[in-house]
């Protein structure tokens, strides 16, 4: 019987010939990412162990990205704990370099790896065909100490993409449409695999945006077939694939979806659930107070270019705060070189340093009671961006920028 990409990666990491969905295996992990959301908790637990040690320090990457720069005395203490521990143990450490998943994609992840990240959006790494999955700090600690963990081999939902997205429609519209279709737990415990001719029309930034958001359908991981675009991306970043897996022709999928990219439209996910998706046109005219262009999902150079092109020569609506937050320092520098930062600033946007920002509702741009945010972030849960009685709409970089200009939810064609 053939295997899916997820099964092949787990088999390789478990050191066995074959695995099938439902099996539980002990796996060797290739990489372990943790950020300032929970690393201080991991350290507290580590320090209470009788014989604390790190299996392989070279596998660890620690990234301060959730509260950058530090916003309170309490956070300063947890950052210091993380910084000091990383220094003492020689752990690869980033601070201010960007949102963890973007930093990992730019510097570490390669095809065929099995990666634990103490962050739910670790599934982003599937964009290069790596099995990334989010874990809590206890699972992280166990993996850090032993180098291993156990995994239930997930079933796979296969998405065969064909055709091409129309102009003005983006990867973010596609993945929000898919989450709306299968529901917020439609892929719970499962892998979401993407392939087909349509995949070749999507660049690496699109692919990261798609894989990153799969956890919002409950997915354990997201995986894309390794192709020339993947190999080119890895080469540009000085890396080689560990494995270049594709699913076998006779692999078993829980369900197969055929998706014609040309049928996808601009989408908005309404408060307070990521699967509450509607045609963006249905939300046109909705009042907004703030707009956010950034995050590990949609803060790459390609997304900033979309926004900059729309806002060039125009102004942010006077009653709207428009936060532009490049996903990494590398993205920020590229945007500076291309004049994109200048364009946003000329328009009256607030350009911030790379970090998670209002996407996780702390540090920057938090919204108040009854306020409304339109965002390229990852989630729109109740209270996610600030006050418990506030509202978050999720949309593409184009829809967010158009809305920032109009002062209400608007699609780019209305500008």
């Amino acid at each position: 019987m053939g295997m899916t990409i997820a099964e092949k990666i787990i088999a390789a990491a478990a050191g066995v010939e074959t695995v099938k969905a439902g099996d539980i295996h002990t796996v060797e992990l290739d990489r372990l990412m943790s950020n300032d959301g929970t690393t201080h908790l991991t350290i507290d637990m580590y320090n209470k162990l009788k014989n604390p040690h790190i299996a392989d320090v070279n596998k660890l990457v620690w990234i301060v990205d959730h509260n950058v720069p530090c916003d309170s005395v309490k956070t300063a203490a947890s950052h210091k704990k993380m910084r000091d521990f990383a220094k003492e143990h020689g752990i690869k450490f980033y601070e201010g370099a960007g949102v963890c998943h973007q930093v990992m994609m730019e510097n570490h992840v390669t095809s065929g790896e099995l990666i634990f990240g103490a962050d739910s959006h670790t599934c982003a790494y599937g964009a290069v065909g790596a099995f990334g999955t989010g874990v809590g700090c206890t699972d992280y600690l166990y993996a850090m100490v032993t180098g291993k963990s156990w995994l239930l081999v997930p079933e796979t939902l296969k998405f065969n993409l064909k055709g091409k997205l129309n102009d003005g429609v983006y990867a973010r519209d596609l993945i929000l449409s898919i989450i709306g279709m299968i529901g917020a737990n439609g892929a719970n415990y499962m892998a979401m695999e993407f392939g087909g001719e349509g995949l070749k029309t999507l660049n690496m930034s699109d692919r990261i945006a798609i894989c990153n958001l799969c956890v919002e359908a409950g997915a354990k991981t997201a995986l894309m077939e390794v192709d020339d675009i993947t190999l080119e991306y890895l080469k540009e970043h000085g890396r080689k694939p560990k494995y270049s897996f594709k699913s076998d022709d006779d692999a078993v999928f829980a369900k197969v979806y055929d998706i014609d990219l040309s049928t996808i439209k601009p989408i908005v996910a309404k408060p307070h659930f990521v699967d509450s998706v509607v045609d963006a046109k249905e939300c046109v005219g909705t009042h907004i107070d703030e707009a956010f262009l950034g995050s590990c999902n949609n803060g790459r150079i390609e997304d900033l270019r979309v926004g900059a092109e729309l806002i060039k020569g125009k102004k942010v609506h006077p009653l709207v705060r428009f936060l532009v937050v490049p996903a990494s320092a590398a993205v920020y520098k590229q945007a500076l070189e291309e004049g994109i930062i200048e364009t946003f600033m000329e328009a009256g946007a607030i350009v911030m340093n790379p970090n998670c920002s209002v996407c996780w509702g702390s540090c920057q741009g938090v919204i108040g009671e009854n306020e409304v945010l339109i965002s390229t972030g990852t989630r729109n849960f109740k209270g996610r961006a600030g006050h418990k009685d506030s509202f978050v709409y999720l949309a593409s970089a184009a829809t967010v920028t158009a809305s920032a200009i109009k002062g209400e939810i608007a699609t780019a064609d209305l500008l």
Binding site: G134, V135, D139, N185, G218, S362
Partner: protein, 163 residues
């Protein structure tokens, strides 16, 4: 804890980790400090009313969202004996086991109970409510061992002294 009885609190579908503990309280020093704010975006009064031994009964996809482990820790800190839901999000599921919080999946109970009712849970057998029995699946023994030990780190300590 093979069999226990408790009063239930009833919640809906997709109770996410930002509902369980909003970001703004994550900077507090301990889970005990955070616990009074549990579920506050949805039901600000709830945390203060929960008593030791109570049980949460919820809809589908309980615990969806972030990998923040404070979520199951806080539910445990409130004294909740177990969470029964139609389904659980996977990261939350692992985090709960790792912190010694018992989770039970059952698709029928939620729609047949009212808040404040009492239910009796017999592990690996059934939930009993007003004379009706709802069968539940058995948990693998290794997961039961982790829960009974109070979480993964404590279980490791017990097993081989690694902890």
């Amino acid at each position: 804890m093979d069999k226990f009885t408790g009063k239930i609190w009833v919640l809906g579908d997709d109770i996410d980790t930002d509902i369980i503990i909003p970001t703004e309280y994550l900077a507090l020093k301990t889970v005990q400090d955070m616990a009074p704010y549990a579920f506050s975006p949805l039901r600000p009064e709830l945390a203060a009313k929960i008593k030791e031994g109570d049980i949460i009964v919820a809809g589908k996809n309980f615990g969806c969202g972030s990998s923040r482990e404070q979520a199951p820790e806080i539910i445990k800190a409130l004294g909740i004996k177990c969470v029964i839901a139609k389904s659980f999000a996977r990261i939350f599921f692992r985090n709960s086991i790792n912190n010694g919080l018992l989770l039970i999946e059952n698709s029928d109970l939620r729609d047949n109970v009212s808040e404040g009712d009492e239910i009796t849970v017999t592990i690996n057998e059934a939930i009993e409510h007003k004379g009706r029995k709802y069968p539940i699946a058995s948990l693998p023994q290794n997961l039961v061992d982790i829960i009974n030990a109070g979480g993964l780190v404590k279980a490791m300590r017990k097993l081989n002294g690694m902890g």
